[in-house]
Amino acid sequence: MILQHIADGILSGAIVALGAIGLSFTMKMLRFANFSHSELLTWGAYSALVFVAFFSSFGGIFDLTFGPFSFGPGLILAMLCACVATAIIALLLHRFVFARLSRAAGHMTMVFASFGVALILRHLVVLIWGSDPIYYSRELQFAILLPGNVRVLPDQVFLLGLTVVVVIALHLFMTRSRTGIAMRGVAESPDLARASGVNVDRIITWVWVIGASGAAIGGVLYGMTVQLRPELGFSLILPLFAAAILGGTGSLYGAVLGGLIVGLSENLSVMIIPTTYKPAVPFLLILAILYFRPEGIFGVRDT
């Protein structure tokens, strides 16, 4: 039983990690808590739904599914398109809301605005797609039995594999590319980075693109392994914040580790508390980490 909880915890933690990377970066580099970030997961998931329908209308190879998985090339392409679509949404929000506010007023105004943006984004999903749960595919899957009587679906194995690939790719980007290194510089000190010739506006664009793409992939994976519903992102607000704060804002590995800790503790918590109280677990983690180590596990204390 405990092994199954651990497996489920890692799987849901992977989705939280993908969403938390962007939230953590915006908290550190744009210096505001973006309550609308989780809605980007919802929009990623639902926009992929549109692209899935689009590609499957071509038939041919788009009707195929890969071996034991529930999806085929159509969903993979749709996921990439969803990343682009979600990044465009995030950049539009930045351009027309957050960037204007950050110049005009303090960063708390941006937090209020993110409340409003979250309301708009979430309820637009209800207006466009309705509030009933939707699935990408009705394909049946057979669970794989792992040692220790742990059952996982092939799609869940894909989820974990893709998350690892994304994290490795981001790691290489952050450590090897000039843009990635500049991004870390902006996280440390925007003024110093600007003085060293870094184009901070371009880096901020990158932060949104990476954050939105991570959110879109997380949303699609959630839709693939659970279901699509308008509260998909909203129900992840606290887990995402918990992961970002736990890991220390601005840290890639922190967000990933934070996501895993959140996923594991949520799923292991059902062994000691009633399942109905599970959504409160991330909140308790936030309180604990803010009390004992406000800068997070990998974070650097702001001076």
Binding site: A33, L101, H107, G116, H123, V126, Y277, I286, P294
Partner: protein, 315 residues
Amino acid sequence: MIGLVSYIVFFLILSLIFGVAVLGLNLQWGFTGLFNAGVAGFSAIGAYTMAILTGPARDAVFGGFELPFVVGLIGAMIASGIGAVFVGLATLKLRHEYLAVATFGIAVTIQLVCLNWEYLTGGTLGLIGIPNPSKAWVDGPLAQNTLYLLVVLVVVGLSFAALERIVKSPWGRMLKAIREDDVAAASLGKSPERVRLEAFVLGCMLMGLSGALYVSFIGYVSPWDFLPILTFQIWTMLIVGGSANNRGALLGALIVWGVWTMSGFVISRVVPAEIQAQGGAMQAVLIGLILVAMLLIRPRGLIGEELHVSRHARS
């Protein structure tokens, strides 16, 4: 004509009840700079306390003491205040967005408790049959609602007068000093931690009062009335009206609740029946748009803070 009058009375009752919570938030954010994103949670504490203290006795659920209305109101404020002391002690050393995340989480947790602790809260069904004091005095819905409006007006008037006095008192000036620069305030021998906690608790008591007035008016309490969207609505009211101005807080409550109910009315008339279920989503989008537009166009609100210069500095 009577229909319109009843509707206006009904509208005023609800918007003024929200106004009480907005006044509480204004004390916290407007004057003290405390970002409380858990308004719905503290309203819920007040609402359930009212239901337990004044509601009828029932099997298998705690409470039903059938106490008088005023005892219920005071009890609701005390319960929210006690909740706020614990929450404040645990979170008030956090600044700004961390405080927002923590209080948001508290509201989610309180809503979960309301939903699941059936012995105390009646679970998903909530608690019904909460007496409305005006029903004991007069007959007919319009007369009852008018009487209840008077009760609400008295409560709002008292809260408003008290807050105006408070923020103009030395303690009120200290709030603003801490909001602007708590290190400077501390260097003058003030205790920012203590004053922040006091302002937080007072504000949360008003939120509890608002919740109590609400359940007594509609006659039941359910966990679905205290979702995070309530917090966002109250925040929008404060931002639209203008934070750090008690008149602005009440004005914002009237305007935003007016937009909410009028848009609901228009949607129910204009939108085809098969997508009526989505009407609530349209209202929520509208509230979000108002909040964002207000922040972009007029961030200080319709009537924002009046700037004061010390009378000692002026001469």
